[in-house]
Amino acid sequence: MKIGRPGRRDDGVKDTLSQPVVEARGLNLVFQTADGPVQALKDVDLTVGKGDFVSFIGPSGCGKTTLLRCIAALEHPTGGTLTVNGMTPDEARRKRAYGYVFQAAGLYPWRTIAGNIRLPLEIMGFDRAEQEARVERVLELVELKGFGRKFPWQLSGGMQQRASIARALAFDADILLMDEPFGALDEIVRDRLNEEVLKLWARTGKTIGFVTHSIPEAVYLSTKIVVMSPRPGRITDVIDSPLPRERPLDIRDSREFIEISHRVREGLRAGHSDD
């Protein structure tokens, strides 16, 4: 696990050494379906440190989304232990530890962009002035300044997704969980948003969990790549990336990048061959 970041946020580095943000031991999840039980997660062990950028990659049905949902307390494991900041995921959820970004932006069409970003703040009881200040700040962070008064359906898909990221950032959750946030967007928009996510991560020092099925995306973004395989959903490889934290887009042509991509591909293939 990598810790400490050059510059920025020297606070919190101490905790990093003592306590992981997410810790899973022997995690199992069995769904009861009409066709009998389905093992969605099997014996998952995972440690995520503070400030890590963790990608979960694998084919559909490998449990990567389920694992993310377990961390966010949207699913409940049927076996093993899972702690978030030393608490149960449910306790962490009630302490508002998560910002969750889904594949679709999921903005409320009856609220403006600013109104959407304000929504979690209203629910959490921030006062009016604080709400406005935070909305302004995160709009700037995702480069949507000046779009606050627009309605979601007046914006492009990429802008909507940026707004949903702003909404997840607004209340300063420690952990940002993103479930294929750019899966529905085209390659060019996706590259740009990936770059922005990296900048955001560098600026805020958040711990990020990121589900994807794109190998370049996973390698480009992560400090830790979790390779998963289906039936039953399990982890087949965990790669700590040797890439520096500062990552221009052309890092994707470097030898290291290609080597990591290769290892991820091997891991995915291995997962497939034994089912």
Binding site: Y108, P109, W110, E122
Partner: protein, 278 residues
């Protein structure tokens, strides 16, 4: 001869209207076209009834109805207050509000949801002509019994719409509420009620037309000597057909205005819905 004239008039009006409709995609054009259409129908009605010598008992002319209307505004107003304002409107408000509250209760208590909706469908299928005399017996001849009939008519259509509306928000949006640690009431108020609004207004529009029918028909089964239903049934009895038509005109105007107000409110509240934005 009369028929040929009528056909010629109809063709001319049609041609004019088609012209206006083709050119005028303006606001004035949108108002002018239906107005012209309505006037055409009235003129045809007047001409055919006079030209063919139709008995006033079968179908009076529009001009005779208008004259009757103008001569009996006081009477029509009293009937309007009794039937529309007291009977239909109070029944509409009580019935839809109760349905709304019940829908939220059913949302909280699964047992109610499972049990109430099938029963609700059954009750909604009960014919009003069967219910009305019983409700008049229970609540008396006054407007209260008419309001009760209206409540019985609008309650279940409204309930079913609100329940469907409360289920209209998608899972991802409810998951988001969960990750923010929102309480039941916060999620209801901020997400599920706004998402339910297109359904709510659908229910209100259905209820609006039912309310007027219910309030008028219920008066056939007993009422004081005022009210639109009372007037229609007694005026038919003495062959005062012009007055019957004048009451029908009042009912149509009131119904359109009622429906139009709800549609306006709907446009303001659900401006975000794909069916409303353009």
């Amino acid at each position: 001869m009369v028929l040929a004239l009528a056909l010629a008039f109809w063709a001319a009006a049609w041609a004019l209207n088609a012209r206006v409709a083709a050119f005028g995609r303006t606001r004035a054009g949108r108002i002018f076209v239906p107005v012209l259409f309505g006037i055409t129908l009235l003129v045809l009605w007047e001409g055919l009834v006079r030209g063919l010598g139709v008995s006033a008992v079968i179908l009076p002319t529009p001009s005779a109805i208008a004259a009757k209307f103008a001569a009996s505004t006081g009477l029509l107003w009293a009937d309007f207050v009794q039937t529309v304002l007291k009977g239909a409107l109070s029944g509409f408000v009580i019935g839809t509000a109760a349905a709304f509250a019940t829908a939220i209760l059913a949302d909280r208590v699964p047992f109610l949801r499972e049990g109430l909706l099938p029963v609700g469908n059954f009750v909604a299928a009960l014919p009003i002509v069967g219910m009305a005399p019983i409700l008049v017996m229970w609540f008396g001849f006054g407007w209260q019994s008419k309001a009760a009939v209206v409540v019985a008519m609008v309650f279940f259509p409204m309930l079913i719409n609100v329940v469907a509306g409360l289920a209209a928000s998608d899972r991802m949006q409810r998951d988001l509420m969960a990750t923010w640690g929102a309480s039941y009431w916060q999620a209801l108020w901020k997400l599920r009620l706004p998402a339910a609004m297109p359904f709510v207004f659908n229910g209100l529009k259905i209820a609006a037309s039912l309310a007027l029918i219910g309030a008028i028909v219920a008066e056939y089964f007993g009422s004081p000597v005022v009210g639109m239903g009372f007037r229609i049934s007694t005026a038919v009895g003495v062959l005062n057909i012009e007055l019957v038509w004048a009451e029908i005109a009042v009912a149509a105007l009131a119904g359109s205005a009622f429906y139009g107000l709800i549609a306006l409110a709907e446009k303001a509240v659900t401006f975000w819905h794909p069916s409303q934005r353009n």
